[in-house]
């Protein structure tokens, strides 16, 4: 199962991933035109900075037992049995923010202007998610866990620990 991994130490907090995500989920999918759209483009991934000042992009973890599914009062959130992805049906979403209320990672964002919750869908229509394609330092990786581990080991200077 392909997943999104973050090689935290490579993150330079340039926020290219946020911009790419917002553009990818805009109507025009084009940076220049998207800025004029109403409602404006919004990112579903966010770069956060922890107490050690390390930054990293955070987005839906596609949890094993997602709180957001139990919490959704409109039956709009479900887990795809094949891919394991937790998907929001935006047409069903009523903007009650119950999922925002329960997400322990705080990565579901209320888009008040659209009255729907925004969450990472791993850019299902693309071969690789827009954020991964946009990351200039390759801090974001899309693939199998074993391949990501291999990649980390290849990096001799690695201090990152793979926690699974």
């Amino acid at each position: 199962m392909k997943r999104l991994f973050v090689d935290v130490e490579r993150c330079l907090s340039c926020r290219s991933c946020e911009i790419a995500c917002a553009v990818e989920h805009s109507q025009s999918k084009d940076l220049f035109s998207s800025l004029k759209e109403e409602p404006g483009p919004r990112s579903r991934t966010k770069v956060e900075r922890d107490t050690k000042l390390q930054t990293f992009p955070l987005q839906c973890r596609h949890c094993e037992e997602p709180y957001c599914i139990d919490a959704c009062i409109s039956g709009a959130v479900s887990k795809d049995p094949e891919t394991g992805l937790v998907i929001l049906d935006e047409d069903k979403c009523v903007g009650c923010w119950m999922c925002v209320m329960v997400c322990p990672f705080g990565v579901i964002r209320p888009a008040k202007e659209k009255k729907i919750a925004l969450r990472c869908d791993l850019c299902q229509d693309n071969e690789i998610p827009a954020c991964v394609a946009a990351c200039p330092t390759k801090a974001l990786f899309f693939g199998e866990l074993k391949d990501f581990k291999k990649k980390l080991l290849e990096r001799k200077d690695t201090k990152s620990k793979v926690k699974v």
């Binding site: 991994f5 935290v8 922890d50 955070l58 329960v102 322990p104 990152s160 699974v164």
Partner: protein
Amino acid sequence: MDYLIIGNCASGVNAVEAIRGKDQKGKITVISDENYPAYCRCLISNYLAGTRKEKDLLLKEKNFYQDNSIELILNKKVESVKPENKRVVLSDGKELKYDRLLIATGGSPKFLGVEGEDKYGIFGFRTLNDAKEILKLIPRAKKVLVFGGGLIGLKAGYALKQKGMDVEIIVKSPRILSQVTDNDSAEMVGRWLMENGIKIRTGLAPKKILGNKKVEGVLLDNEEKMNCQVIIIGKGVRPNMDLVKDSKIQTHWGIITNQYLQTNVENVYAGGDVAETTDLITGEPTINALWTAAAEQGRIAGLNMAGEGKKYPGSIAANSIDFFGLPIISLGYVRVKEKGYEEFVRRQPGIYQYKKIVLKGNRLVGVILVGNIENAGVYLALIRRKVDISGIKDILLEDWFDYSKVSELLEQKEGFRETVSLQGDLVKMA
């Protein structure tokens, strides 16, 4: 194995899915006294407002019952449960037998108990049929009175305001939302509602409903008369547990359950608004009558009925609403009356934004968010996991507070990664 589920909403449906996930062969029967496949009960206010159609309320896809080989019996009520011979008795006298039973009968609105309450035009807002009946009255009705300032009453009032009606909320207590907010945030939300055209009056209660067969008005306890054509009663719900009244199944606030959501009778489980569980924060037995809790309880009860042995950690009061674009979230214990709690507030003068945290010792026990609700779930995780927050007290109210500030604290907690992030995809933080 014969599974019988009474109730076809959040709790019942989640139980069915969980059972089917573990047991593909067993026979599953779902019975409900409503005449619809499972629908999103909370969205009847959206239906009333006209922002959702009936077909949009379906909780599951059309073929759900068929695809999961579930026998669905609609429009039939279970009158009593007979655990000694593992049977339930229906309103038509028929009996059904079971090997495992889930009671997921939810709750019913409480009424006022005043004279004239039998007139047409008074609703406890709970079912799709309630919403349909109210809609029938709307063309001829102009004024609606909502008694009670709780979530359900406000949701109904909000919906009817969107329909162009003249809506007035009448509350006995000095403020609205008294169960889930504090004075200042209630005042803020009340002001917002009034700015959007909903009237609110406090300190008043109805004494008598006026009219012939139909509601025409109300006499208040200050002897004032008010005209109205529709009355919504938002006085809370009581659990639907009459069906176990004469059985050995024990009840208190609701049907008493243990950590596995089992009642005192083997093979009989309960979940949702009818079930009494342990409150995660207070440790006291309670009913947290919420969709989230009902869904989780149904799921876990279902797993256990199919033999899993999964513990339910307890329920937590947590709700989220949005009125006219103003989001409001209330988590945990926020109505502090006694000593031993610390409260911290941040508000921006002049704008609709409010944030309050309630601490007990080194634990976060309650949060109110109005206006800006981003990262609400991070607070809920801290409450749920009983995290020692002594080291981060001073940043909890900051606007830049987010998951990364507490990731280490949360991830140390037993079970955190198992339940939330074990897809193998979270790799970080050397």
